[in-house]
Amino acid sequence: MIPTTARSGTIAGPAGFLAVVACGLALLFGAPHVTESFGLVQMTGFAALAMFALSQGFVWGYGGIMSFGQAAFLGLGGYAYAVSVINLGDSTLPVLIAIAVPMLFAAALGYFMFFGRISDAYVGVITLTVSVILFQLFNTTSGSQYRIGQAELGGFNGIPAIPVINRIGEPGEQLDIEGLWAVAMSALILVYVLLRAILASRLGRVIVAIRENETRAQLIGYDPRLYKLLAFTISAGIAGLAGCLYANWGGFISPTVFGLSMSAQVIIYVLVGGLGTLIGPMLGAVLIQSLIIAAGTQSMVDSNLGLGLVLVGFVLLVPEGLVPVARRLVVGAAERFTARKRATPGAEPAAANPALAEGGGR
């Protein structure tokens, strides 16, 4: 099945790609000069969540896989980092472990789902169920018997005082606020570039082709099960890295990272920003998260109510998301502008062919 809301979604033009990377670099180097440390801490959190949104945007928007329990991988990444950095001291290996553990978990889960050839809806239900059960499981780990090496899992309270990433090979040299921002933002840019590269490669093209028409992809000779498994596993690794940064940002991690509202939040980032784009989910994460923070200062209404309304509202009214709508408005305005210019005598009206504009846009 083709996701109804994922109509766009081939490769954005090189101009768009360069613009996004340039904006990212400007933020990376510019932000420390403009904001003080509180703002920088907040932006580090945004970067972690934007990376989480990228993982969801990739697997769902491009792979067409309804991974509705993406929080499972965020949580596994965060916990894997926390446990291993407490045990090992140096943070270099733990960062890699935070990527590897969710990937292995996703590969095992994905094997059963994709090679079992269950329907898309069932994939949604199972991934969601897995995250709920991980939430319950980690909630029950209070007490000193639940420890991995020197790290106590801590049940509902989670793991406090997680050591921040240090300079490679020097466990004493932990990053300060500015250093963590630099690491988080560079990682976000790198993940974005990596995903663009994957989507431009044969692997990415086949993943998108399978989203478009699984039967045809199969009849051409590609094994959809394998490519779905790859997309799912890659996205789990990205979510794991996001979880690692998230744990670094907060300095602690608790089972709420596995919670349904975490999975729902990332779905909302992607849906609001635009399914089938990469910039959309990142912008969606920053937008929604800013709204949650703004709403958090009042205590009249629970923030879940707002999130729920946003989700229902977007599904009903703006299923494409903001970025594709904005893109279409800009392209439409540009076309009208050129059409008016050409409406002078002797001009060829057919030149403003929407197909040409579209061909140039991807």
Binding site: G9, E212, N213, A217, Q218, L219, G221, P224
Partner: protein, 247 residues
């Protein structure tokens, strides 16, 4: 089994033995024996529901036969996955066009043609295929926005780009204009110089344009198989098409 007089090569390209497909209580394909030689062109005809498309799906692995065996050259492909059979060299244009609607014409052909080639070779090959099927002018268009006939051509292009040994075409002329039908017939004859082709079609003038040997399906079985002129003149075949049950 039927009145073919030409001597057969020792090893056929494709051989189905007792191929059977049952859905619940319905037998859509009933113990069909079918043989196709290298570089042969075969037409399958028969009324709706005769089992032609089901038979195709068994050949491509989209359906696993309830009984019987299917061999492609030396390989037993009974119950193999569609992608495995495709890699052995079987390509199919399905009855309802199966294309990547959200991708451009060029991307459709690229994905089909690029499975085993380097990037540079794929690009050249894709350009040639687009040229051959006269799709170059619309190469940048989104396939979902094309007319039905054009999408048929895109699908045929993806099948050719896959460079299969055996090409299955399920109603390739459906929804095409008169002129397009002629071009399709021409193309099939050209493909057949180097590839084996099986065509399912209802359009009798079209069958006359391309056919050599024709196999007639009726109620899941092979009613007869012979040279095209004799088949189309046969009273049983006429009865089947007019709805009178000869059997």
């Amino acid at each position: 089994m039927n009145g073919l007089t030409a001597p057969r090569p020792l090893r056929p390209l494709l051989r189905a033995e007792g191929a059977t497909m049952r859905f619940g209580g319905v037998t859509a394909v009933d113990a069909v024996d079918f043989t196709l030689d290298e570089v042969e062109l075969r037409c399958l005809i028969g009324p709706n529901g005769a089992g032609k498309s089901t038979f195709f799906k068994m050949l491509t692995g989209q359906l696993t036969p309830s009984a019987g065996r299917i061999r492609f050259r030396d390989a037993d492909i009974t119950g193999a996955h569609p992608h495995e059979i495709a890699r052995l060299g079987v390509g199919i244009k399905t009855q309802v066009p199966n294309v990547f609607n959200g991708l451009s014409v060029r991307e459709n052909v690229f994905i089909a043609g690029g499975r085993r080639k380097s990037l540079a070779r794929t690009k050249r090959f894709v350009d040639e295929t687009l040229e051959r099927l006269r799709l170059t002018a619309i190469a940048g268009r989104m396939v979902g926005q094309l007319a039905h006939g054009q999408r048929q051509w895109v699908e045929i292009a993806t099948v050719l780009a896959q460079e299969p040994e055996l090409i299955l075409l399920d109603e390739p002329a459906a929804g095409m204009t008169h002129e397009e039908v002629h071009r399709t017939a021409e193309l099939i004859r050209e493909i057949n110089r180097t590839h084996a082709v099986i065509v399912v079609e209802h359009d009798m003038p079209f069958i006359r344009m391309i056919a050599k040997t024709v196999t007639v399906f009726n109620q899941g079985r092979i009613l007869m198989q012979d040279e095209v002129g004799r088949v189309l003149a046969d009273q049983r075949v006429r009865d089947v098409y007019l709805g009178k049950q000869a059997a």
